[in-house]
Point group: C2
Chain length 189, copies 2
């Protein structure tokens, strides 16, 4: 773990951790396994992270930061249609680019907890409200709220489904967006 | 556990187990806790079930049997529109009536494993194919497959979401069905 600056090592460690989490689950992956896969000592891993929880949170952090940015930017747009379009584009793109992580989120309680901790508990209250609020719209009724939840969870579950693992990013993105836009009665592109 | 015939006792045991699973997770629930909640000895629980896995499978079994029946009956209908209508009606109703179990399925790996074991691995291959096949339709393209997966996972996640726990069955059923039918371009009722 001496090759390259510390930033590169950290990134390599997180990529390796995500790969091992995918193969063995968060619970089934030890710091020792991460060290072995990187060909370094456990002490070298400890230099970057004091516990597995810290690694799990660091693995999900970039995607959560992107999601927060998408929500904040969508909320700044003036027309409601433009807000929904921006959020659906951004969310679908995020799910497709982070497919491995999203697949873990929907199947591994360790990743779910890390996301809940970082985003849903720790995150800015306005940001969380905005995620569902933008999709459901102002004065949303129950059907609008359910549409928003079905969209976010359904897109995440379908995007991370092993069934579609062989589909290339562009094709998957177009199909997911098509379904998400139909749910929100947005015109097909 | 001497009050009533053995069938009643088993049903009471399964209701108690589901309640404890909801509160503590499958992992966090022991046979001893189930016995204590029922006011019986652990030996009395062992009389019905040899291990927690057997209890978990028995807890999910009635809902899975209902799902299999719904799929089989839908597949027998002649018109494709009628098949989709029947499946959406049945699936939404099942999710609403088994909300507590569905909520666990989307958050507890113990319940997920039991469902996969009983239905997706152990189940009849035709039944599994039919579940997605009926919704996606013959000669389905990627968007049709994704629509089917978004519908089933999104409806299950929304139906089991704590956010909607206070909504009565009839109202929740109508809203979920509205969203599911929109996804499949079926006319509103």
């Amino acid at each position: 773990m001496t090759a390259g600056p510390a930033g590169d090592t950290r990134a390599r460690l997180l990529r390796t951790a995500l790969k091992l989490f995918t193969e063995h689950g968060v619970e089934g992956t030890s710091l020792q396994m991460i060290a072995d896969a990187l060909g370094v000592t456990k002490a070298a891993v400890y230099y970057h992270f004091k516990a597995k929880d810290e690694i799990t949170e660091a693995v999900v952090e970039p995607a959560l930061k992107e999601l927060t940015r998408i929500i904040t930017e969508a909320a700044r747009l003036r027309r409601r249609g433009a807000q929904v379009d921006y959020l659906l584009d951004g969310f679908v793109d995020l799910v497709v680019r982070h497919r491995a992580l999203v697949a873990l989120f929907s199947s591994d309680p360790g990743i779910s907890r890390a996301i809940e901790k970082s985003f849903f508990d720790g995150g800015d209250e306005d940001t969380k409200e905005n995620l569902l609020g933008i999709l459901a719209g102002p004065d949303a009724d129950l059907t609008a709220h359910i549409t928003a939840v079905v969209t976010l969870t359904g897109i995440a579950m379908a995007g991370g489904a092993p069934h579609f693992a062989g589909v290339d990013d562009e094709t998957l993105r177009a199909a997911l967006l098509d379904v998400a836009r139909r749910l929100h009665r947005r015109p097909r592109r």
